[in-house]
């Protein structure tokens, strides 16, 4: 096999994440600052695997209380009802809005889970230096980045229901602790997507070439 694909890492170039300028630093592992935009240069996102794992685990820990604790507490004259995300979706379904129930379920239950699973998968495959399905994995990463924010949907729903339904003593809605955990899950996974460096997916083949040399 002839020379491998030219990549920044094998050529000693560091690409500035902010402005895109390629710099050939003296010391690749301490590249300094980008001369164009002044941003800190790093070969790969700092400590990416560790950080991403930490964030995923934290998010996973928050995921349980997020779904178990109530996100909304509805008090009427006669009763006090607590609703988790899932029971809220079930209520929506019962009241006939099955499409809304589906949206809430997908956005609030499935997407965070999928994100966690996807990021974990990406991390594991990177750590195992897998060279399979790199293109697909990169696409997966881009999807995770793009879709992540939509999990915040339920938080906004709770916010505005609480803001409007304050009609003591007839009916009033309070946010539950579950909403905090849920918001944490979303934020943590979003940051995790930021800390993960997708170039690592390709590094296994980038560096492999080098190894073969």
């Amino acid at each position: 096999m002839s020379t491998g694909v030219p990549t920044g890492i094998t050529s000693g170039f560091v690409s500035c994440e902010a402005c895109g300028l390629l710099t050939k630093p003296v010391n690749v592992h301490e590249p300094g600052h980008c001369p164009r935009c002044g941003g800190k240069l790093e070969l790969r996102r700092h400590n990416t695997i560790q950080r991403t794992w930490a964030l995923i685990i934290a998010a996973a820990i928050c995921y349980i209380p997020a779904n178990v604790m109530p996100v909304m507490v509805t008090s009427t004259l006669t009763s006090v009802e607590e609703d988790t995300i899932i029971s809220g979706a079930v209520l929506l379904y019962k009241y006939g809005s099955w499409h809304l129930a589906l949206i809430v379920l997908i956005a609030s239950v499935m997407i965070p889970l999928a994100k966690l699973a996807a990021l974990a998968y990406l991390l594991i495959t990177v750590q195992r230096n897998s060279i399979k399905d790199q293109r697909e994995r990169t696409r997966l990463y881009r999807l995770v980045e793009f879709v992540g924010r939509w999990s915040m949907l339920d938080i906004f729903v709770v916010t505005f229901v609480v803001a409007l339904i304050q009609l003591q003593p007839l009916m009033s809605v309070k946010p539950g602790l579950g909403s905090l955990f849920f918001a944490s899950v979303v934020v943590l996974t979003m940051i995790a997507a930021e800390t993960f460096d997708s170039r690592l997916i390709w590094d296994s083949s980038n560096c492999k070439e080098e190894q073969n040399d």
């Binding site: 304050q166 009609l167 003591q168 007839l170």
Partner: protein
């Protein structure tokens, strides 16, 4: 001739450089956005109503951003902030009022917190349990706007601008009347008490009442108001009297009014006219005299049973009343004697007499009255205590003619003038009863008893004799009678009894005669002139 065109020298068309547009089309977007935003802002500014502050003593359930200001059940504004006053004693509420309701925020507008309340007139504000408390507004009449208000603690009694009039009643004390107490006219509920306060000098109470239209036109200057609370039980010389307006007034008190019907049509009283509030109907409706003359009477007997307000009568008809009952120390004689002050209404003397101009003239002038009084006294009119009600022992003063009384001259220099009195027979009555009892005592009852015994014994003997002798004879007589009756029976009653036959014939005769008369009477009825001219055509039967 055509000129040859020099192809090389054809000038070049000048290139017009592409004008670089200063603004590309895309700038329409922000311009549109700006216009829309300005439009929204302008509309909001234009529809900004005034911001007002209201100071309450307490503002329960009033929350910033949530509580509304309502007039006539319509939201006209919203509470913006609720905070304590600087000295922490009051609550200051700022509210933003809609532009459309700006005209309501005038000087004498009133605000209060509408919340569930239990008052005399009932329970109010229950709706706020559902809708939340709100701040109510009562419209004022002024046109001047105002921005700082002091909130009321209780809602004003009349919140809608009902038609009607306010009047002021003066009373000694509140009695059983309170805010919300109903007002009655002819037993109809026509209004309510809306407020009260002390007169400036603290000596009387001014009660403000509101009479709904159209009943307010029945309040004239001569209308009398009285407390109609509960049951009016009075015991007077005339007996026991019970009066009540309604069950409601028994519970929450009430005021009734009526115009004495003797008076002619009067125009309705002006708003805020003042009236006196009487304790009961009797006092209220008592005809108020324009001329009142006071006199004093010195009775030389017990006044127990004579109360203030007892009637003074002349020949049984009321002409005045007792105003004071007491004792007077006569310094000159060093003696304490009972004294009764009375009031006479000269008009009453006139009322019961056929009116004549001369008499009316006399009643009006003081000297005329003096002359009249003296004349009465000369004729023998004296005041006397009489028992009005044996049940209650109430006394009253009666003027009456007495014979054989010495002449008395009324001393008009003393005020009030003294009128001569007659001792009431009440003392005599006692002595009389004693006399009777004494006389009964004297009756020789024993002797009478003895006589009675003898009489009875004699009767006894007589009866026994009758039994023995008279009765058998009676028996025989009765037997004879029976026999006679039997024979009579045959004569009269038997079928062919001759006497019967004769009777029958006699009866027939009578009947014929009666028929003839009857026919004659009928004829006469039809032809009355026959009596005069005699029958012309009648054929004799």
């Amino acid at each position: 001739m055509t000129e040859k065109i020099d192809l090389d020298n054809i000038p070049e068309a000048a290139i017009v450089p592409k004008k670089r547009m200063r603004f590309s089309v895309v700038w329409i977007i922000p311009i549109v956005a700006a216009l829309v935003a300005i439009g929204i802002a302008v509309q909001r500014i234009l529809s900004e109503g005034p911001t007002i502050t209201i100071v309450f003593k307490a503002a329960e359930g009033v929350e910033a951003g949530k509580t509304f200001v309502k007039y006539n059940d319509v939201n006209i504004g919203e509470v913006k902030t609720v905070r304590l006053s600087e000295d922490f004693t009051k609550v200051v509420v700022t509210a933003k009022i809609d532009k459309s309701a700006e005209g309501l925020i005038v000087e004498d507008a009133e605000f209060w917190v509408e919340k569930p309340r239990v008052t005399l007139s009932g329970v109010s504000g229950i709706g706020t349990l559902l809708t939340g408390n709100f701040i109510g507004l009562k419209m004022g009449k002024s046109k001047r706007p105002r921005h700082n208000f002091i909130g009321r603690d209780v809602p004003p009694a009349i919140t809608m601008d009902q038609p009607g009039r306010i009047f002021i009643l003066q009373a000694d004390n509140l009695g059983s009347v309170g805010i919300g107490s109903p007002l009655y006219y002819r037993r109809l509920n026509v209004g309510q008490v809306i407020g009260y306060d002390l007169a400036g000098d603290g000596k009387a109470l001014h009660i403000k009442i509101f009479v709904n239209a159209p009943y307010d036109k029945y309040v004239t200057n001569e209308t009398r108001f009285w407390e109609a609370s509960g049951i009016d039980v009075t015991m007077g010389a005339s007996g026991i009297n019970v009066d009540t307006q309604s069950v409601v007034s028994m519970l929450v008190g009430g005021i009734a009014f009526e115009t004495p019907s003797l008076l002619k049509e009067l125009k309705p009283a002006d708003a805020n006219a003042a009236f006196t509030l009487f304790r009961n109907r009797a006092t209220a409706m008592a005809e108020h005299e324009t001329v009142i003359t006071p006199y004093v009477l010195y009775f030389n007997e017990s006044l127990l049973g004579l109360s203030v307000g007892a009637p003074v009568t002349y020949r049984g008809l009321p002409v005045g009343e007792v105003t004071a009952v007491g004792l007077e120390y006569d310094q000159a004689k060093d003696f304490i004697h009972p004294r009764v002050d009375i009031q006479l209404y000269p008009a009453r003397f006139m009322a019961h007499v056929k009116k004549s101009a001369a008499l009316e003239e006399q009643a009006r002038s003081e000297s005329g009255r003096h002359v009249f009084m003296q004349k009465l006294i000369d004729k023998g009119v004296r005041a006397q205590l009489r028992s009005g009600n044996i049940l209650t022992g109430q006394l009253y003063v009666a003027f009456d003619n007495f014979r054989g009384v010495p002449k008395v001259k009324i001393d008009w220099t003393k005020t009030p003038a003294e009128l001569p009195v007659m001792p009431s027979g009440l003392e005599d009555l006692k002595t009389k009863i004693n006399d009777v009892l004494a006389r009964i005592d004297k009756i020789p009852l024993n002797a009478i008893g003895e006589d009675m015994k003898k009489l009875l014994a004699g009767l006894d003997g007589m009866v026994k004799r009758v039994d023995r002798e008279v009765l058998p004879e009676l028996k025989t007589t009765l037997d004879a009678l029976k026999h006679v009756l039997k024979s009579t029976d045959a004569t009269l009653v038997g079928k062919d009894a001759p006497a019967q036959q004769e009777m029958r014939e006699a009866l027939q005769e009578v009947r014929r005669a009666a028929q003839a008369v009857s026919g004659l009477v009928d004829y006469l009825e039809r032809n009355p002139e026959a009596l005069v001219r005699g029958k012309t055509q009648e054929k004799s039967k």
